[in-house]
């Protein structure tokens, strides 16, 4: 009896501390962001505040959430930003004080937005800036427009994305094109958007369980903050889950096929990496060990890897893996360029110049693609312990020794399915 009495307050005490220490807030901006927040299935996620921000009062009025903020009333009269990122930005700038109030007091803020439109592209960087100034860790989940949505929206999305990368601690882009590729052909556009929301939800949940659920090995907020203290790089993010017998193996497989890890600009080596595993009570330490071994081998970080393993009783016979990391922080980029310049033979440079119609692609990604390949080459030189033969030819195969085959900024020698982020069902 005595011990029970002792235990009881102890537990509430820890929960209280948990409540006090990390305040998580999820804010959706613009139409797509609002929808994403509304649709987050968070029944079982506790200690989370939700809020929506928009320039369109009509969209706000249908949101079931209590915490709403209409920005730019003076500039747009609550009628929306009309797809103009500049108007979205002005609206947010005008109501900076209110945004600060909205973001204030939270330690971790998730921003959900669809880039390409007005409010999403324009206001998100402003809110991110305000939130980061207030001292919160800011993680943005942003969807990128479909190709068919046109050049203009892509350009806006691209500009906004690069701004967000400067400001946020982590930015996880979800290209709609890539997400759509794993759907059936007869899927509707609504299905596609629902799928994007689902991925956002999976992502948020992955990070949430990393921080709030407890288990074998905990990842705490401080390590999250530390991993993301260098901003300006790209974020590596992937989730995978598996059920039934050999759930660990299946989860791992699923993770490797995660479309978010197959966007062309993705570099498979992280600078720092957080790996979180959620499983039922049957999740053994040996299994955790096995998963960690494989994950770190695949995404191995250069500086630091933080491991977490969480037990959730509802997840019997199920394993979920979530990886979150940073890549290509600025100093590394500078180093990379310096070291690469003398290595680049003149004929490659010439080839780039003479490539037909070298217009920059709207996504900006294809140009980054060859860069990241080069980066991997460089990294292999850095770390001597790795295999020498498993790197670049993964992408170019027998064309490895030939001139790069640029068309429209893409290297055609790299398999099309890789550049398109197509998921191959083996």
């Amino acid at each position: 009896m005595a011990s029970e009495e002792l235990d009881q307050p102890l537990i509430t005490f820890t929960q209280d501390v948990g409540n006090e220490s990390i305040r998580l807030k999820i804010i959706g901006l613009g139409g797509a962001g609002n929808n994403a927040v509304d649709r987050l299935k968070l029944d079982d996620l506790t200690r989370v505040n939700l809020a929506v921000v928009n320039t369109d009062s009509q969209v706000l009025s249908i949101s079931p959430l209590e915490e709403q903020l209409l920005i730019g009333r003076a500039t747009t009269r609550g009628l929306g930003a009309g797809g103009e990122a500049e108007i979205g930005r002005q609206a947010a700038e005008a109501d900076r004080a209110q945004l600060a109030k909205l973001a204030g007091g939270a330690d971790l803020i998730f921003l959900l937005a669809g880039l390409g439109g007005g409010t999403g592209s324009g206001a998100t960087p402003v809110l991110a800036e305000v939130a980061a100034e207030a001292g919160a860790v800011v993680i943005a989940f942003v969807t990128l427009p479909f190709t068919f949505e046109g050049q203009r929206r892509h350009r806006q999305a691209d500009e906004s994305l690069s701004r967000l990368r400067e400001i946020c601690h982590a930015v996880i882009p979800l290209p709609n094109d890539v997400l759509l590729q794993q759907m059936d052909e007869d899927a509707s556009v609504l299905d596609a958007f629902a799928l994007a929301d689902q991925w956002i939800s999976r992502g948020v949940r992955g990070i949430w369980s990393m921080l709030f659920q407890t288990g074998l090995i905990n990842v705490d907020f401080a390590s999250l903050r530390k991993a993301f203290e260098n901003r300006g790089g790209k974020t590596l993010f992937g989730v995978g889950s598996g059920k039934g017998e050999d759930c660990a193996g299946r989860a791992l497989n699923d993770l490797l096929l995660c479309p978010l890890l197959h966007t062309p600009e993705f570099s498979r080596r992280a600078d720092s990496l957080i790996v979180n595993i959620v499983g039922g009570t049957d999740l053994s330490m040996a299994k955790v060990n096995e998963i960690m071994g494989l994950v770190t081998e695949k995404f191995g970080s250069r500086y630091e890897t933080v491991l977490g393993a969480v037990i959730d009783e509802r997840m019997q016979n199920t394993v979920e893996i979530c990886v979150l990391g940073t890549t290509e922080i600025n100093p590394g980029q500078r180093l990379r360029q310096q070291q690469n310049r003398p290595q680049m033979p003149a004929h490659i440079a010439k080839n780039i110049e003479s490539a037909p119609h070298p217009t920059p692609s709207p996504m900006g990604s294809p140009r980054l693609f060859p860069k990241s390949t080069r980066r991997r080459k460089l990294q292999r030189e850095d770390s001597q312990g790795e295999f020498q033969f498993a790197g670049t030819d993964e992408q170019r195969g027998c064309f490895d020794a030939t001139e790069r085959n640029y068309y429209n900024g893409e290297d055609l020698d790299v398999p099309t399915y890789l550049r398109r982020g197509l998921k191959i069902r083996l």
């Binding site: 037909p356 027998c398 064309f399 068309y407 055609l412 398999p415 099309t416 069902r425 083996l426």
Partner: protein
């Protein structure tokens, strides 16, 4: 020998080197008298990357061809492909000088010179100037000479290539002690084989998907109006499969030939096949769906690049004869279906004419056959008109097959 001349048509391709030997007997008949072939080495994406290896392979093929023909080749016509090729369109115009308004030979010459006035960029060399027909006061005329009008115009499609890369191929042939008489774009060579005159007259797009590159030629009114090279070929399909399925190139090539298909059908998504099929170590099941997915993505890309390059010129109404595929990769299952879908123009796989030897009738020989045909025709008419008209005139005339 007298009037008979022995000529060789050579294609230094990415997968193989083919040499055809033909002879012109008397005035009329054209015969293929010999053939030699070797596995190509040192060629990637249609361009020579290893001169020594490419030379050895080519010389072996020439020797085999000469042996099978039982004679020596006197002159060589060569195909040309590679991503370095580029082209542009230009117009030339001149006012009719004579007071009676009849077009003189000098007017035609100055119009043509006007169209060809532009120098190739530094380091580039012109390969073809292709006449796209004269217009006299806006109406299209076949031969404007002694016709009445005021202003004569002409359109030209110019193809130029990297001087170094073009001369690489010529040096390989020279290394065997043979002279290269002329070089012909692969796409145009294929075009004159798989598309008959009627198709070329009404408008047709010929796409030759080889091992290293995809070459295309667009015909309007019997003229080559546009040509182009996409630096993707069958090699890329193999490479994609080998990377995507994590198998060796050899096995990837086998899978491509045995099971490759350009479209994904709903029904065969769950089929799987054994990699080796002999239950040895390392044998594993590979889903056909994965093979189709990888191939489909690549094939779709090839056609969408062509679509993008041709832009407005790719109009089903302008090319009623549709799209004709040739080259080794045209054997891929359902590739015509995919092309029809992406390009929006009815596509069929081309066939070489029936007079061609059965052993070289497959679509992969289209371009080298075309070059031989070109060479033989050029030789046949040699002496009669060509000598006085000059090489460009001759080329333009031949290429249009007017």
């Amino acid at each position: 020998m007298g009037n008979d001349r022995i000529i060789g048509a050579i294609e230094i391709g990415t997968s193989k080197v083919v040499v055809l030997v033909g002879e012109v007997v008397g005035d009329r008949s054209l015969n293929i008298v010999g053939m030699g072939q070797s596995t190509s080495m040192g060629v990637r994406k249609g361009e020579i990357v290893n001169f020594g290896a490419a030379s050895n392979a080519t010389h072996a093929a020439i020797m085999a061809a000469e042996k099978s023909a039982g004679t020596t080749i006197e002159m060589v016509y060569l195909t040309q492909t590679g991503g370095h090729l580029d082209g542009f369109f230009s117009f030339g115009a001149a006012n009719v000088s004579a007071s009676d308004g009849l077009v003189l030979r000098a007017d035609i010459e100055s119009t043509v010179a006007n169209a060809k006035r532009k120098q190739p960029p530094p380091g580039r060399v012109y390969i073809h100037h292709i006449n796209n027909g004269f217009r006299l006061d806006g109406r299209a005329v076949d031969d404007p000479q002694t016709m009445k009008g005021e202003r004569l115009e002409v359109g030209y499609w110019h193809v130029h290539g990297d001087e170094r890369k073009v001369s690489d191929q010529i040096h390989v042939i020279n290394g065997f002690g043979l002279q290269v008489q002329d070089i012909i774009l692969s796409s145009i060579a294929s075009g004159c084989m798989v598309a008959d005159e009627e198709a070329r007259k009404s408008g047709v797009l010929v796409i030759d998907i080889g091992c290293g590159t995809t070459d295309y030629a667009l015909y309007f009114n019997g003229c080559v109006a546009r040509t182009g090279v996409v630096r993707i070929g069958g090699d890329h399909l193999t490479n994609d499969l080998s990377i995507g399925l994590r198998i060796s190139r050899k096995h990837a090539e086998n899978l491509k030939l045995q099971f490759g298909k350009a479209v994904i059908d709903k029904s065969d998504k769950n089929d799987a096949i054994w990699l080796f099929g002999d239950l040895t170590i390392g044998d594993r099941k590979i889903s056909k769906g994965a093979i189709y997915q990888i191939i489909h993505a690549r094939v779709e890309e090839i056609f969408s690049i062509i679509k993008r390059e041709l832009g407005d010129h790719l109009d089903p109404h302008k090319i009623p004869a549709g799209v004709i595929l040739s080259g080794g990769c045209s054997g891929l299952r359902k590739i015509a279906e995919e092309s029809t879908r992406v390009l929006g123009v009815t596509t069929r796989v081309g066939e070489n004419p029936a007079w061609v030897l059965e052993s070289v009738r497959q679509p992969e020989y289209s371009s080298v056959l075309g070059v031989l045909y070109y060479g033989l025709t050029a030789q046949r008419t040699a002496g009669s008109e060509q000598s006085e008209r000059g090489i460009f005139r001759k080329m333009a005339r031949m290429l249009n097959f007017a």
